[in-house]
């Protein structure tokens, strides 16, 4: 067994362990943290496959941003574990059925020989000065320019829709306008001098 294979098996074991913990832990915060571990180890496996750009972006986007917001929500929610587990036995037969169906599907795809090693020879190790990021960028902005742009536009639409759904102006809440605050002048804007008759 080469050193590389050993490292792969170590990371694969951690990944499988973390993935199992995600679905078996009772506490949702623990599950989310194990999911973070799973992302991290799969990034390490991608590094082994010489895809350093994808690996680092996985850590950056999923671990650094998506999972943080996920944890945010899970921590703020007051989840009642008892009610969540209540339907476990009732739904178990259906769940087992779906699980078996999915396992059979996976075996039909992977085990049918169309993904075996004699169909796809192991790629040659790339030279040390090979730049994964640069080659990805080159192909993304030339050959796959239009699909890339279309994906970007779809994401933009999604952003606008999400903001549009959540934005509402409530008349009773007060807002500050920082640009107005900055433009305040010393005399007139700060105090109003009232003239009034002396009372006796």
């Amino acid at each position: 067994m080469t050193f590389e294979l050993f490292v792969f098996y170590v990371f694969a074991a951690i990944l499988v362990f973390a993935a199992t913990m995600v679905i078996t832990r009772k506490n949702p915060v623990h599950s989310a943290l194990f999911l973070v571990l799973a992302f991290f180890t799969s990034a390490a496996i991608w590094l082994l496959a010489e895809a350093e750009f994808l690996a680092i972006v996985l850590v950056l986007v999923y671990v650094g941003a998506v999972m943080v917001l996920f944890l945010f929500v899970v921590m703020m929610l007051d989840i009642d574990i008892a009610t969540m587990r209540a339907g476990f036995v009732k739904n178990l037969p259906l769940a087992i059925l779906i699980a078996i169906a999915m396992v059979i599907e996976i075996f039909l795809v992977i085990g049918s020989g169309s993904f075996s090693l004699d169909q796809f020879a192991a790629p040659l190790p790339l030279p040390a000065d090979y730049n994964n990021t640069a080659s990805l960028g080159n192909i993304l902005y030339t050959e796959y320019m239009y699909p890339f742009e279309v994906a970007a536009v779809i994401l933009l639409v999604a952003i606008i829709a999400a903001i549009g759904l959540t934005m509402r102006k409530r008349p009773e809440s007060k807002y500050q306008d920082p640009s107005k605050q900055v433009r305040v002048k010393k005399g007139e804007d700060r105090i109003t001098v009232l003239k009034m008759d002396a009372e006796d």
Binding site: E52, I56, L60, V63, G64, V68, L69, F72
Partner: protein, 352 residues
């Protein structure tokens, strides 16, 4: 000396892991010393800015103060609050310090003087600094305290928002240098103009945004709402005592040094001499080793962290968010386009 060199080469051939471990110790041990004396410098500098002397009792002129603090914290009891999640409570400080140290793996201290010379160095740095937020979130949740939780929420939201501006500022550097390798980025700033060839001039808005976002990212004043002592006691680490607290503290200061060092690397020419190629001063300072220049620049940027803390009042939370999302991100996007045009048309001085 020859014996040592041959031993070193033998290690490199037979026991690479041991050689790498020795290299890591050579980087981390001085870094920890820098962290300790950065806290001393902070107390002294802020002291003088507020017309007092600062620590002056332990050792000559108070030089042993950081050592005394470390010893004190080490001997204190580690209190784990009731109802806290013990494992996560103890893991959280390590998760803060870990990424702050791991980031130094790709940091070039001189021409070729780097632990791991990887292609995607800049990406690696962005990814690692984004992982640092977990220590804060986990500590806030595991403490089982509402103040800690509020501090963690504030801090996490702040770090995630400023990461975007920071990332965009780094994209500007990447476009200007044409490489993700940190050594290549420094070499791209080399030129006859000395300090006028560095990226701080053509990327001036990005330079400022990177530094200010770095201050926000490390939860330092004036962006320290995460620990706002008048509102939420001390934020996410309110329940920590003894060594776990010290590790949080180490992480914060290691992060500050990292941001200062990166600012000097990406915008202030790293190990390059500021007088490079100047008629009289250039040859006069040729003998100074690059790492000394890097140290001076890092200390200079680090001083700004302390200066900001001594002079600015704390930002209001909604204004922090406004600054990050509505001011910094649009400016960075516009400036990336400016830099892109400058690179395409090979603007003289920097990009020709």
């Amino acid at each position: 000396m020859d014996l040592l060199m041959s031993l070193w080469e033998w290690l490199g051939e037979n026991l690479v892991v041991v050689q790498i471990l020795i290299k890591i110790v050579i980087i981390v041990a001085p870094l920890m010393l820098c962290v300790a004396y950065f806290t001393y410098a902070e107390r002294k500098i802020i002291g003088y800015m507020q017309v007092r002397i600062g620590p002056n009792r332990v050792g000559p002129k108070g030089w042993l103060q950081p050592i005394a603090d470390a010893v004190k914290l080490m001997f204190k009891e580690i209190i784990i609050p009731s109802g806290a999640n013990k494992t996560l409570f103890l893991i959280a400080p390590v998760l803060t310090l870990g990424p702050a140290l791991a980031a130094w793996a790709v940091f070039p201290f001189g021409d070729g003087l780097v632990l791991s010379n990887i292609n995607a160095g800049l990406l690696y740095l962005i990814a690692l600094t984004s992982v640092g937020v977990y220590g804060v979130i986990i500590s806030g949740w595991a403490s089982n305290s509402k103040y800690a939780f509020l501090g963690a929420m504030r801090s996490a939201a702040q770090i995630v928002s400023y990461e975007i501006a920071m990332g965009f500022a780094l994209v500007g550097v990447l476009v200007a240098a044409g490489s993700l390798n940190l050594g290549e980025i420094v070499r791209a700033q080399e030129g006859e103009g000395g300090l006028f060839n560095w990226f701080w001039l053509p990327l001036f808005p990005l330079f400022l945004i990177y530094f200010v976002s770095g201050v926000a990212e490390t939860n330092r004043a004036p962006f320290d709402v995460a620990e706002g002592e008048s509102e939420i006691v001390a934020g996410f680490h309110v329940e920590y005592s003894g060594m776990p607290f010290a590790v949080f503290f180490l992480g914060e200061y290691a992060n500050m040094i990292l941001i200062s060092a990166l600012t000097s690397l990406l915008f202030l020419g790293g190990w390059l001499s500021p007088f490079n190629g100047w008629p009289l001063l250039g040859p006069m300072f040729d003998w100074v080793p690059g790492i000394v220049w890097l140290f001076i620049k890092t200390a200079f940027v680090g001083f700004f962290f302390l200066w900001l803390r001594a002079t600015f009042p704390r930002y209001r939370y909604d204004q922090i968010m406004r600054l990050g999302w509505k001011v910094f991100i649009p400016i960075t996007i516009v400036w990336i386009m400016v830099v892109g045009l400058a690179v395409v048309f090979e603007m003289p001085w920097w990009f020709d």
